[in-house]
């Protein structure tokens, strides 16, 4: 499989250029000194300065972060417990539940959004509430949980089936079994699910659009409202900043993982040597 494959690599390089071209344009024009997004007229950092005094962008960014953090954390808790529950069920029970769990993942976003808005609007008429932060949060939790479950379940299957009993034989209460034995073992899955859920929440536009009502606005919704007029380069600036943050985080995580792997390989070699 490690044959040199020049044509394939060139094709891959072209595809990556295609993927990054608009992003480069976006970043470059966040430094443009006029509002134009096609004519370059000089370098400036003004958009970055103005960004922080723009109350609309800042408040929508705050909403986005708050919804995403809350939704992904709540989803991680509910999802982890649900995954443990499904794992303990007999297959004939687990299978249908997991199918329903997959619905929001497979279904088109617009249908998830529209169906939740139907529910919220009709329930709101009965109980006297309006679409707002609460409904937005519920919607986000709903589409976040499946991702948590999907990344926790494989970790549970990797566990030794006897782990639960072993822990209890050694004197753990049922709560300790979960809290001290199972949760630490499946932690990588939970963290992974949490991160996917957070990403999904930050990036979501369609479901928020249908469930947030008119009083709350996420960053995506603010951007969508702007595309109808003209997007201010301030938006380019904020996405450049977000992009930079993610890039730096990814580099740090990857460098650390690479180092750990190297250290592990070294350790194994040393162990082999000592035998």
């Amino acid at each position: 499989m490690t044959k040199k494959n020049t044509a394939g690599n060139i094709f891959t390089a072209l595809t990556y250029i295609f993927l990054y071209a608009p992003i480069v344009v976006l970043i470059v024009f966040s430094f443009n000194s006029t509002k134009s997004r096609t004519v370059w007229s000089g370098f400036t950092l003004n958009w970055y300065k103005e960004l922080f005094s723009d109350s609309l962008i800042m408040s929508s960014l705050q909403t986005t972060l708050m919804v995403s953090v809350l939704a992904s954390l709540i989803a991680a808790v509910i999802g982890t417990f649900a995954a443990i529950g499904f794992y303990s069920m007999k297959k004939q029970w687990r299978a249908p539940f997991l199918t329903v769990n997959n619905i929001p993942v497979i279904n088109a976003d617009i249908i998830t959004g529209v169906s939740l808005s139907l529910l919220f609007v009709s329930a709101g008429l009965f109980m006297g509430f309006e679409l707002g932060f609460g409904t937005l949060l519920i919607a986000h939790i709903s589409f976040d949980i499946p991702y948590v479950i999907l990344s926790v379940m494989p970790k549970l299957y990797q566990l030794d089936r006897n782990l639960f009993e072993a822990a209890q034989d050694l004197g753990c209460t049922w709560f300790q079994t979960i809290y001290k034995v199972v949760i630490p073992e499946i932690m990588p899955g939970i963290i992974n699910g949490l991160l996917i859920a957070f990403t999904m929440s930050v990036d979501d536009f369609v479901i928020s659009y249908f469930t947030a009502g008119s009083s709350v606005e996420t960053l995506s919704m603010a951007i969508y409202a702007m595309t109808r007029r003209r997007i201010s380069p301030k938006i380019n600036a904020i996405s450049t900043l977000l992009f930079a943050v993610v890039l730096i985080l990814l580099i740090i995580v990857n460098v650390r993982e690479a180092r750990q792997q190297k250290a592990n390989i070294k350790k194994q070699k040393m162990l082999k040597g000592s035998n």
């Binding site: 499989m1 494959n5 394939g8 891959t12 595809t15 295609f18 993927l19 608009p22 992003i23 344009v25 976006l26 096609t38 509910i78 417990f81 649900a82 443990i84 529950g85 794992y87 303990s88 069920m89 029970w93 539940f97 329903v100 497979i106 279904n107 088109a108 976003d109 617009i110 249908i111 529209v114 169906s115 939740l116 808005s117 139907l118 529910l119 919607a139 939790i141 949980i145 030794d160 782990l163 639960f164 209890q168 050694l170 004197g171 753990c172 049922w174 073992e185 990403t199 990036d203 536009f205 369609v206 249908f210 995506s220 951007i223 595309t227 996405s239 977000l242 992009f243 993610v246 890039l247």
Partner: protein, 328 residues
């Protein structure tokens, strides 16, 4: 991977227990332990109940509501009018399906070779390449699409670049003999079907590459070696071994591209102009727009769901039983 730690406390307890008379203890255990493990299992199952309730409330009931709305009128009575009203929109259905199919096909044609090339790199390069594929997803999807607007506009970067290297002058010069010819200053790129397909391919291409790549890297290298040892050419190896084994990835890639493509309304609105409506736009208009009619919107949504379910079950028929040789 699993590590057990014995704390002094638990060890102490075990000691106490084993000091009780053995025969009695065993008899109790033989009755009690199965009951206990049944109870424990039951208790652990109950961890899922809050989420089961959640799913019922926020996944199942909303979808049932779509069904209810689709078959009722604004006055509340049963009606099929919403579905007969849809016949006006058959062109929109056709256009949506067609554009989504084209986008999915292009994603496959681009995505498969890229996935194959990535899975042939060494582990470190693979990791970097996969990271680079996921990185653009962190830029807001609306902004990525908007960035294409600045590239594709009539006065956008692509047309400016073409003008700068004299493409339009050259084309106009070619037609200089024709009196009916009006000189062009740009190509019409934005507000076309092509731009919508481009937006779909751009946004959803990673969803094609990632699942295919993840299946290809898991193919047992010995299976490929065996095929080569038995005299298969590299083309035959690909056609008879690699491709069939990667089908499950292809199928999930196709679904992950087709479903959002057929239901998008953002891409068509930004890159397709106001005249080129897709199914997503139609649904959005019924719920958020001036043409507020959730009953019609629900009927359209229901039909869209049906199309997706049918497409997926057909796809899954193709992929059945192809996964045995993939090392998990």
């Amino acid at each position: 991977m699993t590590s057990f730690r014995l704390t002094p406390v638990t060890e102490g307890r075990r000691m106490n227990r084993s000091s009780a008379p053995a025969g009695f203890k065993e008899r109790v255990a033989s009755v009690w332990l199965p009951v206990k493990s049944f109870l424990e299992r039951y208790r652990r199952q109950s961890f899922a109940y809050p989420y089961v309730l959640w799913m019922a409330l926020f996944v199942v009931i909303p979808i049932i509501l779509i069904g209810v709305y689709a078959f009722t009128s604004a006055e509340g009575g049963f009606t099929l009018e919403n579905f007969s009203g849809i016949t006006n929109y058959i062109p929109v259905f056709g256009r949506s399906l067609w554009l989504a199919l084209v986008a999915t096909a292009i994603c496959f044609i681009i995505g498969y070779p890229v996935a194959l090339a990535i899975s042939r790199m060494d582990a470190k390069a693979q990791r970097i390449m996969l990271m680079l594929i996921m990185l653009p997803m962190w830029i807001n999807f609306l902004l990525r699409t908007y960035a294409w607007m600045s590239l594709l506009e009539n006065t956008g970067l692509i047309n400016r670049m073409l003008a700068a290297i004299g493409v339009f002058d050259w084309i106009n010069a070619m037609h200089s003999g024709n009196p009916n010819y009006t000189p062009i200053t740009h190509f019409q790129l934005i507000n076309t079907n092509g731009a919508v397909v481009l937006g779909m391919v751009y946004n959803y291409l990673p969803f094609m590459i990632l699942p295919i790549q993840s299946v290809i890297v898991k193919i047992d290298p010995f299976v490929i070696e065996a095929a080569q040892d038995l005299g298969a050419s590299s083309r035959t190896v690909f056609r008879k071994v690699i491709f069939p084994l990667s089908l499950s990835g292809v199928i999930s890639g196709i679904t992950m591209v087709f479903v959002p493509s057929v239901s998008t309304f953002v891409i068509s609105r930004l890159l397709g102009g106001s005249t080129n409506m897709l199914l997503g736009d139609l649904i959005e208009m019924q719920f958020m727009g001036a043409a507020y009619n959730p009953h019609l919107g629900s009927a359209i949504s229901l039909i869209m769901m049906a199309i997706v379910v049918i497409c997926m079950s057909v796809m899954n028929k193709f992929g059945e039983g192809e996964e045995q040789a993939v090392v998990m």
